[in-house]
Amino acid sequence: MFANLDPKSAVPLYEQIGLRLKAAVATGELRPGNALPSVRQLAAKLRINPATVAQAYRGLEEQGFVELRQGAGTFVRSVGGDSRARERTAQARRLARGMLAEAARLGLSRPELRDAIRHELDGKGGIA
């Protein structure tokens, strides 16, 4: 779930962690009632500042994805179907935004990009 976190990225680490966890909720990898790893475990495992993990968890709590139970840990809340759908849409848009930014950097035009996406979708790509 946390493979390839990138400390060099312009996206702060706490946000990267939050995004990974939200993606896991959206895809059902994390289910309501599941416990997140403790701040301490995750910080040691990922070799990052514990404050960064705590900040990520606080953000998720504010957005209603998890709840902090005093003394017990952090748990995934049951999110409704539309909230999960919203999150999936958000993930897809994030992906598209990243691709557009990269395309702009390379100076690709809209038709070129559209053709490339259509070509990949029509091919044997792994997407349903």
């Binding site: 400390p7 060099k8 301490r40 910080a43 070799r47 500042n49 514990p50 404050a51």
Partner: protein, 311 residues
């Protein structure tokens, strides 16, 4: 007490060719402070001054609020140190060195020491003389952590260790700081290592402090900006208004494109480029290592200019 470490105007001449100049460091309590600089820039000398192992020619040091050297015993009782070279007795066994070390520290945590010894695969009856470099590093971390210090001072602790050992010792250190509010002061010339967890950074070069600030500020203030139409602009010339940021480096890309590396960047500064008739193509963050390298490069050019002014 707000600072775990504070030095004011610290100066120390180590040799005819090398000195620490007017060093003022402030390490806030609770910070994970990365102390960066190239080899030989004075990091280890500074740490030795902090710990009272060297006496400064001028200036003062406070360690955990205690003046150095008068308050050293009180401060060192709460400070865990991993020095650049292990100082343990080679003829002791692992168990003996643990018992020896524990005797000096009232807050020693025997339960954790046992657990870490097991996690680190350090067998009790091994003689220290026979430990590998990685095993020795793990033992040094274990000793420093299990005394439950308020301040950890680590001098190039990851230098020459394999990735497995690095993960083990860093994991243990971060586990420790997540259970209590301790301060970590960690020196390294391996910048990328510190990027993951440090929240403060101090950079030294040639015995001087180049910069000291929160990591987030260091990262957000350093940018690489791609521009077009900048080729006719000379910032600082009378014809153009001086830029509100510091230009660290500038290179010509293909055609009319240029890349500027700047420091002290804030979003509203795009206005300056508009005013100069320059078009911004892209503003990207510099990672810590790039920021560090560009900063040192610019610092050295400035130093050299100053020296030739004096000459």
């Amino acid at each position: 007490m707000t600072s775990a470490i504070e030095t004011t105007g610290l100066s120390y001449r180590a040799s005819p060719n090398f000195a620490i100049h007017d060093l003022s460091l402030t390490v806030p309590a609770g910070a994970l402070y990365g102390f960066l600089g190239p080899n030989g820039c004075g990091k280890t000398t500074t740490i030795r001054l902090l710990l009272g192992l060297l006496r400064p020619d001028a200036g003062s040091v406070r360690l955990l609020g205690e003046p150095v050297p008068q308050g050293l015993p009180a401060a060192l009782a709460r400070t865990g140190v991993v020095p650049d070279r292990p100082h343990l007795h080679p003829y002791l066994t692992v168990a003996e060195s643990l018992a020896f070390h524990a005797a000096f520290y009232p807050a020693w945590d025997p339960g954790w020491a046992t657990r870490l010894q097991r996690d680190f695969l350090l067998e009790s009856d091994r003689k220290l003389a026979g430990l590998s470099k990685g095993e020795m590093a793990k033992l040094m971390f274990l000793l420093a952590l299990c005394q439950r210090p308020d301040l950890l001072i680590l001098d190039e602790p990851m230098d020459g260790l394999d990735p497995v050992v690095r993960r083990d010792v860093l994991g243990a250190m971060l586990d420790y700081v997540s259970t209590r509010t301790g301060t970590v002061f960690i020196s390294s010339h391996l910048v990328h290592e510190l990027e993951r967890f440090c929240d403060w950074v101090g950079v030294m070069d040639a015995g001087r402090l180049v910069v000291e600030l929160p990591m987030a500020e260091f990262r957000s203030g350093n940018k690489r900006i791609r521009l077009s139409g900048a080729d006719t602009v000379e910032p600082g010339r009378a014809s153009s208004s001086p830029p509100p940021f510091t230009l660290l480096a500038r290179e010509r890309d293909s055609g009319a494109l240029e890349t500027w590396v700047v420091r002290g960047w804030e979003p509203q500064m795009t206005g300056w480029f508009e005013q100069e008739g320059i078009v911004i193509r892209e503003v990207a963050d510099l990672d810590l290592e790039d920021g560090f390298v560009e900063l040192l490069r610019a610092f050295r050019v400035g130093e050299q200019a100053q020296r030739s002014d004096h000459a």
